[in-house]
Each structure stands twice: as C-alpha cells, then as structure tokens.
Symmetry: C2
Subunit: 328 residues, 2 copies
Amino acid sequence: METLSIGHGAGGRLTEELVSLILGRFPGNPVADREDCAVLPGGIAVTIDGYTVTPLAFEGGDIGSLCICGSANDLSVRGAKPLYIALGVIVEEGFPFEDLARFMTSAGEVCRALGIELVTGDTKVVPRGQADGLFLTTCAIGKTGAHPGLGTRNISPGDVILLTSPPGMHGATIAASRYGLKVNGLSSDCAALWPMLETLLPLEGLKCMRDCTRGGLGTVLCEWAESAKVGIEIDETLIPWDEASISVCDLLGLDPLHMAGEGCAAVVVSPEEAEAALELAKNHPLGKRASIIGSVTEEHPGYVGIHTASGGTRLVDKPVGEELPRIC
Amino acid sequence: METLSIGHGAGGRLTEELVSLILGRFPGNPVADREDCAVLPGGIAVTIDGYTVTPLAFEGGDIGSLCICGSANDLSVRGAKPLYIALGVIVEEGFPFEDLARFMTSAGEVCRALGIELVTGDTKVVPRGQADGLFLTTCAIGKTGAHPGLGTRNISPGDVILLTSPPGMHGATIAASRYGLKVNGLSSDCAALWPMLETLLPLEGLKCMRDCTRGGLGTVLCEWAESAKVGIEIDETLIPWDEASISVCDLLGLDPLHMAGEGCAAVVVSPEEAEAALELAKNHPLGKRASIIGSVTEEHPGYVGIHTASGGTRLVDKPVGEELPRIC
C-alpha cells in the first residue's frame, strides 16, 4: 500500500500531491488559488498551520514565537493585519509544565507586540510515546485593508522581485542544531513581518508577497512562475546571503534556496515602484538587508532561472523530497 | 519537575489548570467566558479543536467526520451557523494514503451536507514514531444570527435543562473498541448538531447550549453551575440513556455522566419555552429521544445534584483524572 513519506511534508512537489489528495475530497473547488491564506467575504483573512519543529527551542526563537509569527506572517503577506489567534495544543504526557509555560510566554509576547488576541484554544494530552513532546496548530484571523487583491494572479512580465532579508536562516539554524553544529552568529530569523509589510501596502504597484518558509525562496518563486505562467529570473549575487547560514548549508550539502526562513518575504512589485518598495523595506529593522534580486519575464513561462556568481544560469526547481523534516 | 499527565487532557479540573497556565501567558484576559467558541466583532464565531482519537475509525464515524462535526458543533451551540473550516493535518511518515483519503472523504461529506467550505489548510509529516498516525486540528468559522448572546451568563434559577439525545455514546464506543468489546447496537453519536439546534434559535427563552463532549454531560453541568453561580438538579430517570453505552460503562467501571458524546447537546431554556424547545428538538431525527432532565435552582450554587433511580441524591463532580485518553 502506498504510504506517506517525509517528502510529502517538505513543501515541494510531493506536498502538492498530498494537498491535492486532501482537497479533492472536499466539496467545491477549495483553496483554488493555493495561497497559504484564505480571504473570506468581508475581507476576513484566515490561515492555519501546524508546528512540529524540533528542537522546540532554538537560537532566535522557539515553537511558541514561531507558531504566532508563522501564522501571522501568512496573513501579513496577503496584506491582512493579524488580529486574532486560535491555538490548538497537542502535548505528550510527561511534558514539563515549565517548558510549556516558557513557550506559551514566547507566544504571548509576540501577540502582545502585534496586538493579537488569543480568542479560543484547545488542549489534547496524548499518552507517552504517542507524540513527540509538543505540537501546536495556530489559526490566525485578520482583516484585509488597502490591498485586498494581493495574489499570484497579479504577477506579470516586467515586475520586480524584492527579497526583504537573507533567505534560509531559520532552516539553517534548525539544521545546525539537529547536527550539533555550533556556528557563530547563526540564528533563526523568526519574526513577525506585519510591521514592515504594512508599510508597503500603500504602493499601488504591489502585486504579491509570500513568506519564504517551508521549501524556501526557491519554492516560492517556482510556485509563482507556475501559477502565473511567467518566467522568473534572479541573480545569485543580488541575494542578501547570511554568511552563517550559507556555511551550514555548504557543510551539510543543503541548498540554501530551499531552506526555510521565518521572517523573510519575497515581494513582487511593478518596476515603477520597485525602488520605493526597497526603501520602505529598508526603513524597517527586519528589512535592512532588503534587496532587489530579479524580475519576471515573458520567457520560459513556468520556470525559474538563477544567474550564478560564476556567470552561468541554472534552473531552480522545487525540492522533490525532504532535506530536513520538522523545521517548522 | 512537574509534568503533564493524561488527566490534564480529560476536560475536568486538571484541564482547567492547564488552560489557565496557557491563557495566563497571553495578553489581556483571553477567553474570559471559557466557552469553546469565541464570538468576534461582526458576529464572527471561531473555534479550534485538536483530534487525536484512537482508533481512527469507529462504529458511527471516523476522525474525518469527527473533526468537522466536533468543531461545527462548538459553533452551533453558540447559535452560529458553521460556514468555513481551516484544517491542519499532522501525519506520521508511513501512514497509508488510502486511509488518509478515506478520512478526508468522511470530512468532505460532512462539509457537503452542512454547506461548509474548506478554505485553508496545512499538512505536516513527522518521522515514523514521532506521532501516532494522524492528528487533525480544525478551526471552524461561522456567523451568529438570531441569538448572538447565548452563553452561560444567561442561566438563572427556574430555567430548564433539556438534553437532545443519550449522553456518552461516543465515549462508550471508543472505550469498547479500545478494550476489544463487541456490543450490539453500540455506535458513536458523531453528528452535526446545526440542523437541529438551528430550529431552537427562534426561541426567546433559549439561554445557553453546549455539546457534551470531553468530560461528558456531568462536566458541562458543573461548568454551568460554577460559572453562573447557580445550583443544577437533574433526574437520572429522565436521562434518555443508551442501553449499549450503559452496559459498556458498567462493564468497564466508567461513569456515563463523564463520557463524551459527539452529537448530544445540553440546552438551558426558560420554563415557559421548555416544552416548545423539547418539541422542536424531537422534530429532528437527532433529537427524537430529547428529554427534559432537570432544572436550575437558587440552592447549592456551584453544585450539581442528581436524583438517582433508587431515590437518593448524589453530587455530580467533574472528573479529576482521565477515564480514557484520546477519545476525540
């Protein structure tokens, strides 16, 4: 019998298969646009995410801050202000109270900073050995404002791709921790994007935004190229790489383009407003290394090319399997 | 170091401690009324629930139908029509595709019957041994209508307690399955309450409704008595017991008042409209065994008494530990 593999959770092609299997069982044509966040009538934006990260605490954050930032970011990239959180807790018998309290404190601090209210929750305790410690699921609810129509369908040739910060920092941090590597300066970028992305919303030329989580920057760009039937070209030398993350990836043979960030957004903007968008992003601490990394083209629709530092061009594809499970 | 026990997931007093620990870490005074469902500005109702039931399929339902019914019911008892579902899937590597497809089909069928739309979702695959098969978390979103103010605070002495169907059928079914008991006619009552409860909403005397899930009817009544600072008295002989469930509980030494139902609601209604409410419930197939089982009193505020078949009266308390983990 065919069974699920770790690759089905990697955010790449196998995940698409899994998601299609699930969606096909529900009435209508659910989640047709395959964004991470739904916009309901009245501009209510909703997203849900499970968090199974291990270790539960890491340099730069923990599962508590991650579950709020991650779900809030899914709303933020749709131009929706995060307002409410519903929190589902699945915890293993024997889990230390003190640790749970610590992670909930982290979650609460992000909520406080963003003005997000916890409105409902649920806890389930499963017997020892039937779950690995703590799994959280957060549903974030917000309201779209200035830009209710942000989405993949707006992307058109000539548009510019902006990256707000170095890609892959979260994934590299988790990978290093999993393999027991100590790397100076290495830290997850786990952060709430709303305060920075909010400043971009007044731009009329803003087309689409996405946080580069599971599957990394590479997967986001591939999804955009396929979904909008455009080509995308980026330049390796324009990406604001994080040195520490790159060395982890080099050492472990991981592709930094497929590593998750948790506070890093890719933004599509019209060429006329690209410089304005860059400046707005740079005005915020989270965007101080923001950079224009490429553009959308009519050529090779559905495909993403990267011009490498050595002068060549290679195809960027989605990961097929899983480079590292349980990064978020 | 103090750690979590199975009892913290039982829906009783230890669960309250756990929930207080979590809520205390978030800003403001979240979930102050401790209903299972939040009503946001604009009448948007939201609830979230994790489902860790084992076995995944049981007589009368499976984790798929359960996750939609359960979350939709949390909205329905607040008088909110379930409209949207967000679904978080955490699945173990090696889980059969066929089973996942079957459970998603069950979930989809309930959505189709209720007109609920799946609007967003998430899947996480964890390595073998790090979760037990399949955990689902559903966030249901709906809209309050005729009765936006349903809630514990409306309960007052003289009110009547109506039960829509036999209590504890789901819990008894899971217990029997876990202990390998075959009992004729035993089945979970897993069902969506909305179509029946919707017919009660026009009643002006409708005060409060709650589905009797984790912790059972006994826990619901205790929470009401404590929260509304009233006494509650019910009559054992008026409860529409399910024979098969009762024999399972007798055999296993479980208290049927603490066993979960998944299609059974307790309703508080003014004495003037009690008969009307009973008739409306009985008009629906799910409520054909509905019964008035007791009333609210000024005496012994905070406590629930049950008049037993033998003519005595005993106190009903919340379960302190867990009679059976992973029933939902």
